[in-house]
C-alpha cells in the first residue's frame, strides 16, 4: 500500500499510466478479444462432470416401452386439436384423468401491447391443462414438471403424445418421491407465464389468469419437450432463459450422460460435438457454437418454454427433437426412455441442483467455460474504461494550478465547469432514453392514424425515429449557461461518462455476461478514444456504426450467419425490425430487461459520448 500512499511512487505510477495509456488500452482490448476467442479452444476449457452426488452414482434403469402408443395418442391429440381448432381441453382432461392423474385447468387472457406479427396474435385467450401424479407417501412438498406446448398447426403433437405416454407409465411406478406435474400449455410462453405466475401467485407483468387449484409444493426441476416428428435424428438441448439466466450445469450434464448411455445423438445450439480440436475447422466449429450461445444469452429472451422457470429458481431446460436427413434415426420409445431416466435421477435428488455452475458458456456439450475463465475477457475490456478515467483524472488534476492532489483545488478553480453544465447533458440524454422506452408503445395509436403502417411497424419505426432523433439533440446547452465550452468541461463530462459506462457494463456482465461483453466490445473503443478534437465526420460515422442499435443489427446478421441461414441485407433489416418488436414484447410480456437496459441506460450513456464529440 506504500505504492499509493507514498506521493513519489504514486506520481511515478500515474506518470507511467498516463504516458503509456493509449498503448495499454489497445493491448488490453486485443487481449480481451483474444482471451474470449481462446475460450472456445479445447485445451483451455474444462470437461463437464457431474457434481451432484445424488445423480452421479445412483443407478437407474429405463424400461419405458410404449413409444408407439404414445405416438398414437399424439395422433389422437392432433385430431382433437384440429376438431376444436385449438387446445382440446376436454379431451386432455379426460385422457389425463384416465391415466390416474389429478387434473386441473387454468384459463388466462393476455392483451399484448401491440400485435405480434411473427406469431400473429394480439388478444390471447387460452387454457392450460395439467395433471399431477401424486407420489406415494410423499407430502406434496416437492415436484418435478414436464411440459409440452400445444402449438398451432401440426407442431409438437408427438411431444404431447409422449407426455401422456410417460404420464401413464410413470403412474404405475412405485419409486416416485416427488410429485410430477404434466403440463400442456397453450400459446407457448404466454401460457407458461400464466401458469408459473398462477403457481407462485405472483403477477409481474399484469396478465389475467385464473388461480390454480392443485399444487405440488416447491418445484425442483422442469423439462420442456418439443417433438414434431415420429422419429428424430438428434436431440437439441436449449438452456438460455429469460435475461440470460441459465440452469445449473448439472442439468446439461444429466442430459448428456443419458444421451451417451442410451445412444442418442445430442447437440447444443444445433451443433454436434467434434473431436478434431487441433484443426482450424474444429476450433471454428466450437467457436461458432460458443458464439451462438453468447448471442442467444445476450438477447435476454427465453429460447424455449423452460426459460421462464429460471426466475423462480427452478432448474429447467428444453429438449427439442430434430429430424434431419441423417441416416440414423431414434424412435419415440428411446426418447421416452431417456426422459424416464432423467426424471428418475431428478427424483433421487435430495436437494435442489446447486452443486455445479450457474454461470458458464458451452463450446460443446462436453466442454464448458466457467465464470472464472470468461470474466477476465470482460475485465480486460472494462479496465480500459478505468484506465482512461484515471488518465483524465490526472489530466484534470494537472491542469489545475500547481497541485498534485487535483480534486480539492479543482472545485475552486475558476475555469472548472459548474455542476449544471455536466448535469444538463446527462439529464437530456436520459430524457431521450425515457422517451425511447415509453413513446413507441404509447404513441402507436397516433402513428397508425397518421401513417399507413401497422401497429407493430409503428412501434418499431417510432423507436428508430426517437433513436435517430437523439443524435440531433441540442448538445451544447452548457454554452447557454457559460458561454463557451471549456476543455475542462468535456473532460469532466467524459470522466462521468466513462465511470458511468464502467459501472453499467460491470453490473450487466455480472448478471448476463454475454450482453455485457458484446456491449463492451462495441462501446469501449469509442468511449476510450472520443474527444472533441478528432476528425468530426469520420468519428461521427464510427460512433454511429458502433452505437447500440447498429450492434444489434450486426448481432442479428452474425447470428443468422452462424445458424447457417445467411440473409441478405434487406432481409437482415426486416429481421432487425422484428427483433426490436420482439424485444419490446418480451419486456412487456415476460419482464425481459434487455430493452429497458438499452433504452434507459446504455443509449443515454452513448449519447453522452456523442455529446463529447460535438463539444464546442
Amino acid at each position: 500500500m506504500g505504492l499509493l500512499s507514498d506521493p513519489n511512487r504514486r506520481r511515478a505510477l500515474t506518470n507511467l499510466l498516463t504516458r503509456l495509456n493509449a498503448p495499454i488500452c489497445v493491448v488490453c482490448y486485443l487481449a480481451g478479444v483474444m482471451w474470449f476467442m481462446g475460450l472456445a479452444f479445447e485445451p483451455f476449457t474444462l470437461r463437464t462432470y457431474m457434481s451432484e452426488n445424488a445423480m452421479g452414482s445412483t443407478m437407474v434403469e429405463e424400461h419405458f416401452p410404449a413409444g408407439e402408443r404414445a405416438l398414437a395418442t399424439g395422433r389422437e391429440f392432433a385430431a382433437h386439436k384440429k376438431k376444436v381448432g385449438g387446445m382440446p381441453v376436454n379431451w386432455l382432461v379426460k385422457t389425463m384423468e384416465s391415466r390416474g392423474l389429478e387434473v386441473f385447468t387454468q384459463s388466462f387472457t393476455r392483451k399484448l401491447p401491440f400485435p405480434d406479427e411473427n406469431k400473429e396474435r394480439y388478444l390471447v385467450r387460452g387454457t392450460n391443462v395439467y395433471g399431477i401424479l401424486r407420489a406415494p407417501r410423499a407430502s406434496r412438498t416437492e415436484a418435478l414438471v414436464l411440459t409440452a406446448p400445444c402449438s398451432q398447426g401440426n407442431a409438437n403433437n408427438q411431444a404431447v403424445g409422449l407426455l401422456l405416454g410417460l404420464a401413464q407409465y410413470f403412474r404405475s411406478q412405485v419409486y416416485w418421491a416427488k410429485d410430477i406435474i404434466f403440463l400442456v400449455n397453450e400459446h407457448d410462453l404466454i401460457g407458461m407465464q400464466a401458469w408459473l405466475e398462477g403457481y407462485h401467485h405472483t403477477n409481474t407483468t399484469g396478465g389475467d389468469w385464473s388461480p390454480l387449484h392443485g399444487r405440488g409444493g416447491s418445484i425442483q426441476a422442469s423439462l420442456s419437450l418439443e417433438l414434431s416428428s415420429d422419429v428424430i435424428t438428434s436431440l437439441d438441448l436449449v438452456l438460455e432463459g429469460l435475461n440470460g439466466q441459465l440452469p445449473n450445469l448439472d442439468l446439461a450434464n444429466l442430459f448428456h450422460a443419458f444421451c451417451q448411455k442410451i445412444g442418442v445423438l445430442c447437440t447444443i445450439q444445433g451443433k454436434l460435438q467434434r473431436n478434431d480440436w487441433e484443426s482450424t475447422s474444429g476450433y471454428s466449429h466450437s467457436a461458432q457454437t460458443m458464439m451462438l450461445m453468447v448471442l442467444k444469452q445476450a438477447s435476454g429472451r427465453p429460447w424455449g418454454d423452460h426459460g421462464l422457470f429460471l426466475r423462480y429458481h427452478i432448474e429447467a431446460a428444453t429438449i427439442r427433437g430434430i429430424n434431419s436427413f441423417r441416416q440414423y434415426k431414434t424412435d419415440t420409445t428411446t426418447i421416452g426412455r431417456l426422459l424416464e431416466g432423467m426424471y428418475r435421477k431428478l427424483n433421487n435428488l435430495l436437494e435442489r441442483l446447486h452443486q455445479s455452475y450457474f454461470f458458464y458458456l458451452m463450446p460443446s456439450l462436453t466442454r464448458f467455460v466457467s465464470i472464472g475463465y470468461y470474466m477476465p475477457a470482460f475485465g480486460l475490456l472494462a479496465v480500459i474504461l478505468l484506465l482512461r478515467a484515471l488518465d483524465l483524472w490526472v489530466q484534470l488534476g494537472a491542469s489545475a494550478p500547481g497541485t498534485e492532489d487535483g480534486l480539492a483545488e479543482r472545485e475552486q478553480s475558476p475555469s472548472s465547469p459548474g455542476v449544471l453544465s455536466i448535469l444538463t447533458p446527462v439529464v437530456i440524454s436520459h430524457m431521450t432514453g425515457v422517451a425511447l422506452y415509453c413513446l413507441p408503445v404509447m404513441s402507436q395509436e397516433m402513428a397508425v392514424q397518421h401513417f399507413p403502417v401497422s401497429e407493430t411497424e409503428a412501434v418499431v419505426l417510432t423507436a428508430i425515429a426517437i433513436y435517430t432523433a437523439g443524435l440531433a439533440l441540442p448538445h451544447n446547452t452548457h454554452r447557454l449557461l457559460q458561454g463557451e465550452g471549456t476543455e475542462h468541461g468535456w473532460r469532466v463530462l467524459k470522466l462521468v461518462a466513462l465511470l458511468y459506462l464502467a459501472v453499467l457494463l460491470g453490473c450487466t456482465a455480472l448478471i448476463n455476461f454475454s450482453l455485457g461483453f458484446i456491449l463492451a466490445l462495441s462501446l469501449v473503443p469509442i468511449a476510450a478514444f472520443i474527444t472533441p478534437h478528432t476528425h468530426k465526420p469520420l468519428s461521427a460515422a464510427i460512433m454511429v456504426l458502433l452505437s447500440p442499435g447498429c450492434t444489434l443489427l450486426y448481432c442479428v446478421l452474425i447470428f443468422q450467419e452462424l445458424q447457417e441461414t445467411p440473409v441478405s441485407l434487406q432481409d437482415g433489416w426486416m429481421l432487425f425490425l422484428s427483433v426490436i418488436s420482439q424485444g419490446i414484447l418480451d419486456h412487456s410480456l415476460y419482464g425481459s430487461l434487455v430493452y429497458p437496459l438499452l433504452a434507459l441506460l446504455i443509449y443515454p450513456c452513448w449519447l453522452l459520448l456523442w455529446n463529447i464529440l460535438f463539444w464546442k
Partner: protein
C-alpha cells in the same frame, strides 16, 4: 358473544364426546380390535385398523401401579412418571388426499405430531415435556427428541382434551409437529409390540411392513386418554387406542384386474381373532355397493352408523365367530370393482396451503379454506405454527372470502423469538357458504448462522401443516332424495349428533428455501473475503484516514555533522 358461543360450542363437543364412548363393561382390562375397509371413489382402498385397550386403573389418585396385564408397561410407566393426562402421537408418511379419498377417520399431518395434556399437578411443564419427548423418542424409534422450544406451541383453542375432565388451561398443553420425520418399519415394529397379541394373532397378522409401506398413504397413531369406567362415570379408566391407516394404490399394484382382497393388500389372510380380544371385527363399507363393487364372501351382519356426518352401511365379519372363517379356515375378503368412476370429490371442508412469490428475501404464505356446503356457513379454527426463521409480517395478515374482507372473530397470536419459540397464530374464521376463504401473510426469510443449517440446506426448511378444526354441518340434512330407505318419521328433524360433526383437517406442509451460503466453498470464501478486506478495504481505509505531510528531504551525513558543529558554535544552520 358469537365468538364465545363458537368456542364453547367446540369445547362442549369435546366434553360430550368423551362420555359417549365407554362401553358398559365391568371386566378389569379390555381389548378390542377392528379393521375397517373402505373402497374409495378413486379406485383405491382404505384400510383402517383400530385397537383399543382399556385399563381400569386410576393412578390419578396417587396409587402406585406395578401390575400390567393388557396395557403396555412402557406406556403405563410413562403416563405415571410424567403425570400425563392425555397423549396423542401420530406418525404419517404421505398426505391424505381429501379431494380423492374423502375424509379419513382419524386425521394426521405428514411427519410426526405429538400433543400432550399434563395433569394440573405438574409444576414444571416444560421440563416434563422435554423428558417425555425424549422417552417417547426411544420408545418409538423416532426423532421426537428434535422437539424443543422452537417447535412447541400451546394452542389456546384448537386442541382440547378428548377424555373426561374439565381442565382446559392451555398451560398444561404442549403441541409439536415434526413435518420432516420419515416413518418406516423401525417405527412400526415398536408400535406393533404395544399390542397385547403383538403381530402373532388377530388382525395384527396383516401388518406386514413390506405391504404397509407399499402404499399411497401410511399413518400410525396412538392415543391415550382417561374415559369413564361406567355409565355413572364415578371413576375413570385409561384408554389406549392404536390406529393404523393405509391407502393402497390401484394403479401401482393391480394393473389389469380391478379387484382387491385381504391377501392382495396384506399378503396374508385372517385365520383367528386375537385370543385376548373381547371383540374382533372386520367392517367393509358397502354403502356404494352394489353399483361400485361386489363383495365376497357375503356376510349376514350389517351395521349402520353415522360417520363424519354421513350415514354409512357396513358389512361386518365377526372374527370371534368360527363360522366366519368357513371351510377354508381363513377369511379373505374380496372386492371386485364394477365401475370406474374417477370424479374428484367435493368435500365440505377442504384446505390447501402454498408459498407464493419468488426470490430468497420475502414470500407469502397462502392458506385456502374451502367451504363447499351449499347454504350453511360455519366457523373454523385455524392454527398456524411457523418457525422463527420465517419472520411473519403480521400486519400483512388478510382474510378474504368471496372477494371481501372477512374479519376473524378471534385471533390469538404469539410472536416468535429468534431461536427460542415459533410463531403461533390461531384464528376463528366464519366461512360463508360455498366459498373459498384465503388467509395470506407475508414473511421475510431470516439468514441463519452457519451452524444452524441442516445437513442438506438446499433441500429447504419445513413449515408444519396448518390445522383446521371445525364443526361441520352434516350432509345427512342435505340429503333430499330418498334413495336411502329410511322411515319418514325418522328423517324430518335432523337429530343433534347428525346435524354437525367435528372435523379436523391438516393442510400440506411447506418447503421453504432460505438464503443458503455455498458450503462447498469455504476455502474460496475465506480467501476471497480475506483478500477483499486486506487489499481493498485496508488500502482505502489507509488512504482515507492518513494525514499527508510533505517530508523534509533527508540531509546527508556531512551536512548533519556540520550542523551540529554550527549549533555548538551558535551560527545559523545550513538548510
Amino acid at each position: 358473544t358469537a365468538i364465545c358461543q363458537s368456542i364453547t360450542q367446540l369445547m362442549m363437543w369435546y366434553a360430550n364426546n368423551a362420555k359417549y364412548f365407554p362401553p358398559p363393561s365391568t371386566a378389569k382390562d379390555q381389548f378390542q380390535e377392528e379393521l375397517v375397509i373402505k373402497p374409495l371413489h378413486s379406485g383405491d382402498i382404505y384400510a383402517s385398523f383400530q385397537f383399543r385397550t382399556q385399563w381400569d386403573t386410576d393412578f390419578l389418585l396417587g396409587s402406585k401401579v406395578s401390575h400390567y396385564r393388557l396395557f403396555p408397561k412402557s406406556l403405563g410407566q410413562v403416563i405415571s412418571k410424567f403425570s400425563v393426562r392425555e397423549l396423542h402421537i401420530s406418525f404419517t408418511q404421505g398426505y391424505w388426499r381429501t379431494m380423492q379419498w374423502g375424509q379419513p377417520f382419524l386425521p394426521s399431518p405428514p411427519g410426526a405430531e405429538l400433543w400432550v395434556w399434563f395433569q394440573d399437578t405438574v409444576t414444571d411443564v416444560d421440563l416434563a415435556w422435554k423428558e417425555l419427548t425424549n422417552v417417547l423418542s426411544g420408545i418409538f424409534c423416532a426423532s421426537l427428541n428434535f422437539i424443543d422450544s422452537t417447535n412447541t406451541v400451546q394452542p389456546s383453542a384448537s386442541f382440547k382434551p378428548l377424555g373426561v375432565g374439565n381442565v382446559t388451561d392451555q398451560r398444561f398443553l404442549r403441541y409439536a409437529v415434526l413435518p420432516r420425520e420419515i416413518v418406516c418399519t423401525e417405527n412400526l415394529t415398536p408400535w406393533k409390540k404395544l399390542l397385547p397379541c403383538g403381530s402373532k394373532a388377530g388382525l395384527a397378522v396383516l401388518m406386514k411392513s413390506e405391504k404397509l409401506f407399499h402404499s399411497s398413504f401410511h399413518s400410525q397413531a396412538l392415543h391415550i386418554r382417561p374415559v369413564c369406567k361406567d355409565w355413572q362415570c364415578k371413576s375413570t379408566s385409561w384408554e389406549l387406542r392404536q390406529t393404523l391407516n393405509v391407502v393402497f394404490d390401484l394403479h401401482t399394484s393391480g394393473q389389469g384386474k380391478r379387484e382387491w382382497s385381504l391377501f392382495k393388500m396384506f399378503s396374508r389372510t385372517l385365520t383367528e381373532a386375537c385370543p385376548l380380544a373381547s371383540s374382533s371385527k372386520v367392517y367393509v363399507d358397502i354403502t356404494d355397493n352394489p353399483q361400485l363393487f361386489e363383495l365376497s364372501p357375503a356376510t349376514p351382519l350389517v351395521s349402520q352408523a353415522v360417520v363424519l356426518g354421513d350415514g354409512r352401511t357396513y358389512s361386518v365379519y365377526d372374527l370371534t365367530d368360527h363360522a366366519t372363517f368357513g371351510q377354508t379356515h381363513s377369511l379373505n375378503v374380496l372386492l371386485r370393482w364394477r365401475a370406474a368412476e374417477r370424479e374428484m370429490l367435493r368435500p365440505l371442508l377442504h384446505g390447501e396451503r402454498y408459498v407464493a412469490g419468488y426470490g430468497l428475501q420475502t414470500g407469502e404464505i397462502h392458506t385456502l379454506v374451502y367451504n363447499n356446503h351449499p347454504y350453511r356457513a360455519f366457523p373454523v379454527l385455524l392454527l398456524d405454527t411457523v418457525p422463527w426463521y420465517l419472520r411473519l409480517y403480521i400486519h400483512t395478515l388478510t382474510v378474504t372470502s368471496k372477494g371481501r374482507d372477512n374479519k376473524p372473530s378471534y385471533i390469538h397470536y404469539q410472536p416468535s423469538k429468534d431461536r427460542l419459540q415459533p410463531h403461533l397464530l390461531e384464528m376463528l374464521i366464519q366461512l360463508p357458504p360455498n366459498s373459498v376463504t384465503e388467509v395470506t401473510v407475508q414473511f421475510e426469510r431470516a439468514l441463519l448462522k452457519w451452524t444452524e443449517y441442516t445437513p442438506d440446506p438446499n433441500h429447504g426448511f419445513y413449515v408444519g401443516s396448518s390445522v383446521i378444526s371445525a364443526l361441520v354441518p352434516s350432509v345427512v340434512a342435505m340429503d333430499t332424495n330418498n334413495t336411502q330407505e329410511r322411515p319418514l318419521f325418522s328423517s324430518f328433524f335432523p337429530c343433534k349428533e347428525e346435524s354437525t360433526y367435528f372435523m379436523r383437517i391438516y393442510t400440506e406442509p411447506l418447503l421453504v428455501n432460505l438464503p443458503t451460503p455455498d458450503f462447498s466453498m469455504p476455502y474460496n470464501v475465506i480467501c476471497l473475503t480475506c483478500t477483499v478486506v486486506a487489499v481493498g478495504y485496508g488500502s482505502l481505509y489507509n488512504l482515507l484516514t492518513r494525514t499527508f505531510q510533505v517530508e523534509e528531504p533527508s540531509q546527508g551525513l556531512a551536512k548533519r555533522l556540520a550542523n551540529i558543529i554550527r549549533r555548538l558554535r551558535g551560527v545559523p544552520l545550513l538548510t
